[in-house]
């Protein structure tokens, strides 16, 4: 038994944030029915592809986002597509969509459509800037989302342009936030029979985000202080990223525990300087600069793994900068069973990150790999009691299989 295996999600999302939100529920057992337009989710067109060649069934991104889901292709402009959607909505516990605001209404399958089917059915809408407000129809991408709503302004070097996170990290964060909203809507429906429209603005999931953004905003409200764009993470000894014999290591140690740093370094003579152990002087740029000369030498004589081992022993906050090769080869994650393996008809044997977290009971399982386009159209519609004539029409309209 999985925690959510009595939940059916009607999933009208595409691209990254929406599918990630519903995948987290699918991982815990929810029956996520992924509705794709003829031609499929745009994420099928996005890299990385197996072999580097674009192919709608060979995107590693699409694969990761859509494991444990079933794919149904519906043309929502057509009556047969709408009829099938209505049948599916009757069996669903929650609807999730991330079209541009107003799109589903124009197709006649907006919130009102679902309300007519079932008043207690929650609808979660994920959009760029929310369902209301002057930017309602504005476009958004990873860069502009994080630049505008996330704390990107203070990332990078003072004399250069702000620089974003890797890949589409911000969209994944938004997806995680949206999964909480979906689960909240499910709880309100289960406990109180409340059906409702939930408005998730990608931008607002970042304005209120934990990664420095909210704290930076309130620090300004409190003190008038703003956060300058600078490398590292503020003052400290050691603090920031240092080169070592075979790469880089990142440290954090502000005023807190000079004793642990001493222990890590093996108590070299230079570290006994009283200035290096005074909590206030440890934040003085001139003192830090002097100390860094010694510390850099210590780092350059050691590998990133050697440094991290010493830091772990001395309980110093530290992490080596791993490449993907380092990560895949690392024993810790192998030993813990972090990597999952599965056979996919187009990708062959795939290795990928498994459970997002471990639950003692009812947690993550890989029940199925990411679906081929429309792989489950017939199967799912028959389950929902859609008549054969309608199914034929759906399949003829690009519904596949």
């Amino acid at each position: 038994m999985q925690a959510l295996d009595d939940v059916r999600v009607l999933d009208l999302t595409h691209h990254i944030a929406g599918p990630y939100a519903t995948r987290l529920l699918a991982d815990l057992g929810a029956d996520v029915i992924k509705i794709e337009k003829p031609g499929g989710d745009i994420a099928r067109q996005l890299p990385p592809f197996k072999g580097g060649v674009p192919h709608p069934e060979r995107s590693g991104l699409f694969f990761y986002l859509n494991c444990n889901k079933r794919s149904v292709v519906l043309d929502l402009r057509e009556p047969a597509g709408k009829a099938a959607l209505e049948a599916l909505a009757k069996t669903a516990h929650v609807v999730v969509e991330n079209f541009a605001p107003g799109t589903l209404d124009r197709l006649g399958v907006g919130v009102d459509f679902f309300r007519r089917i079932n008043l207690a059915l929650p609808v979660v809408s994920i959009s760029n800037f929310g369902q209301t407000g002057p930017y309602r129809d504005y476009r958004l991408s990873e860069l502009t989302l994080y630049g505008f709503a996330g704390e990107m302004y203070s990332m990078g070097l003072t004399e250069r342009e702000p620089v974003k996170m890797a890949g589409t990290a911000a969209l994944f964060e938004s997806g995680a936030a949206a999964s909480v909203a979906i689960m909240g809507a499910l709880w309100a429906a289960k406990r109180f029979g409340i059906g409702q429209h939930v408005d998730v603005s990608l931008a607002e999931t970042h304005f209120g985000g934990v990664d420095r953004r909210h704290a930076t905003a309130i620090a300004y409200q409190f003190s008038g202080r703003k956060t300058i764009r600078a490398a590292g993470g503020g003052a400290g000894m050691p603090q920031g990223i240092y080169p070592c014999a075979d790469g880089y290591v990142e440290f954090t140690n502000a005023a807190l525990r000079p004793d642990r740093v001493d222990d890590m370094l093996g108590h070299p003579e230079w570290n006994q300087d009283p200035r290096f152990n005074d909590p206030v002087q440890r934040l003085d740029p001139a003192v830090i600069e002097e100390w860094n000369v010694y510390f850099l030498t210590w780092c350059l004589e050691r590998t990133k793994r050697e440094i991290w081992a010493e830091a772990r022993r001395a309980k110093v906050l530290c992490g080596p900068l791993f490449s993907m090769e380092d990560l895949f080869e690392d024993d810790h994650f192998r030993d813990r069973g972090f990597w999952a393996r599965a056979e996919h008809p187009e990708l062959g044997e795939v290795e990928f990150p498994g459970r997002p977290f471990l639950m003692g009971k009812g947690g993550w399982q890989l029940r199925r790999v990411a679906p081929l386009l429309g792989q489950h159209t017939g199967e799912v519609l028959r389950e929902a009691g859609v008549d054969d004539a309608t199914i034929s029409q759906v399949l003829a309209g690009g519904g596949a299989r």
Binding site: M1, A3, L4, G60, Y64, L65, G133, Y135, R139, S141, L143, T144, G147, E151, S154, L157, P162, M165, A166, A169, E173, A176, A177, A185, L186, A188, K190, Q196, V198, D199, D211, A215, A219, Y220, F222, G224, R225, K226, T227, G233, G240, Y248, E250, A254, A255, L256, K315, L317, G319, L321, F322, M324, L327, F333, R336, V350, F357, L358, M359, G360
Partner: protein, 441 residues
């Protein structure tokens, strides 16, 4: 008051720093009663600030989100209004107890007995040292849902590694994958995106475990290894290595999916980066038609009409040249005006907003995003709003960021129903307090 999805659910918040408190804040936003036990004799660094009583100069030398206290003064009780703390402690309650002493631990046991969830993200071993083990908790309440958020997991060679988000993200590859493509990785700023992921998914995990409990009557233990949890953010690089053994590196502000141009360009600025008055516009062109519209918006300059730039392939190959051209056009223009002009043409564009400017944004104002809260000793300010808008179970900020020990009376007398005699003894013993013990620096 309207119904809340999680009303009646009680969560004990044994959390520190960011990842744990973010999860319990989301649960509180959804209506759970979140209660934080705090120790008057032990200061948890980076939770209510760096130190209980920081020297003034430490505030001044700290990054703003850590040292930007009201009026730039330490004030009487700095632990109540550290900016990082207040951003994570709305909709929560606080009471004090010294868990190192048996009578304190017994108070926690009694609270666990009437709670649904215990959430902790301390360094592995911290709770064990106090004797707060899974077995001990389950003896107090067999159906308790225990969430643990170790950096690298409770097992494996790195289980004892100390880490903040920035360190475990480095291990998962983020630090080599982000930052300027033409600079050393040491140019990177410390960030904590893993805390966002683990925090949000911790709230999800709790709600899934509650769902399971509703169906079976059984509690359970959840382990969120933060490093493993962060991996999804780097799917592009992980899957590329998995499928193709291709090791990706930093690409600055470029689109990871290859659509060009995608960059951050200077806008008309009232000042410099040194005074945090520099302004930037982020622009992302996703197809050829958008590029043509951008060219027209720029007044169709000759450089932009270069046929090499008509296709995405050509634009990607000459990205730097295009960057220079766009920058020359944006440099003397207002960032918000650029956004509106380009968005009217269907182009994703937005200012790279310095945090304080969000309070002036008309869209956020129109959506009534900000919430005013009053914190004792700090005064009344506008705070950032909730992550989502629920139509019928709206997120309300019913409890402002909680002061140390603010709910001692409630927890001891109403919830635990301790006698007057026991209450007096606990107060005399220093368990019940509204300030840190003077011995705490």
């Amino acid at each position: 008051m309207t119904h809340k999805p999680l009303e009646g659910i009680r969560v004990i918040d044994l959390c520190v720093v960011w990842a744990g408190p973010f999860a319990t804040m989301l649960l509180g936003d959804l209506g759970a009663e979140v209660i934080k036990p705090e120790n008057p004799f032990v200061f948890q660094p980076m939770t209510r600030g760096a130190m209980a009583r920081p020297p003034q100069i430490l505030l001044e030398r700290s990054i703003a989100w850590s040292g930007g206290l009201p009026r730039n003064e330490v004030g009487p009780r700095p632990w109540n209004y550290n900016p990082t703390f207040v951003s994570l402690y709305r909709n929560k309650k606080s009471f004090t107890v010294d868990l190192r002493r048996p009578e304190g631990k017994d108070i926690l046991r009694r609270l666990v007995a009437i709670s649904d969830v215990v959430y902790e993200n301390n360094a592995v071993g911290t709770l064990e040292k106090l004797g707060i083990t899974e077995a001990w908790l389950r003896e107090a309440n067999p159906a308790i849902i225990l969430v643990r958020v170790p950096a690298y997991g409770l097992t494996g060679p790195y289980h004892n590694a100390r880490a903040l988000g920035v360190h475990l993200e480095a291990v998962m590859g983020h630090t080599l994958l982000r930052g300027y493509d033409d600079a050393d990785p040491s140019a990177n700023t410390a960030i904590y995106s893993g805390d966002y992921m683990a925090g949000a998914q911790g709230a999800l995990a709790v709600m899934a475990a509650l769902w399971y409990r509703e169906r079976t009557g059984e509690g359970q233990t959840i382990e969120i290894a933060q490093a493993e949890n962060a991996a999804a953010m780097f799917t592009h690089a992980i899957m590329d290595y998995s499928l193709n053994r291709n090791v990706q590196g930093a690409i600055g502000n470029r689109d990871v999916h290859g659509r060009a141009p995608c960059g951050v360009y200077p806008a008309k600025s009232p000042g410099t980066a040194a005074t945090m008055d520099d302004r930037w516009i982020a622009i992302h062109i996703e197809n050829d038609a958008q590029w043509q519209r951008l060219v027209e918006a720029m007044g169709s300059p000759e450089w932009a009409r270069d046929p090499r730039f008509a296709t995405n392939e050509g634009r990607a190959a000459h990205h730097r040249e295009i960057d220079e051209g766009i920058a020359a056009w944006t440099r003397e223009r207002d960032d918000y005006e650029l956004m509106h002009q380009l968005q009217a043409l269907g182009i994703a564009a937005a200012p790279v907003l310095e945090a304080s400017r969000m309070f002036d944004d008309p869209h956020l104002r129109a959506r009534d995003f900000f919430k005013t809260q009053t914190v004792r000793d700090a005064g009344t300010h506008e705070y950032v709003g909730p992550l989502w808008k629920f139509e019928k179970t709206p997120v309300e900020f019913y409890q402002p960021p909680v002061c140390f020990g603010e709910h001692n009376e409630y927890v001891y007398r109403e919830l635990l129903k301790v006698s007057d005699e026991e209450y007096a003894a606990l107060r005399a013993g220093g368990h019940i307090a509204e300030e840190y013990d003077p011995s705490v620096p």
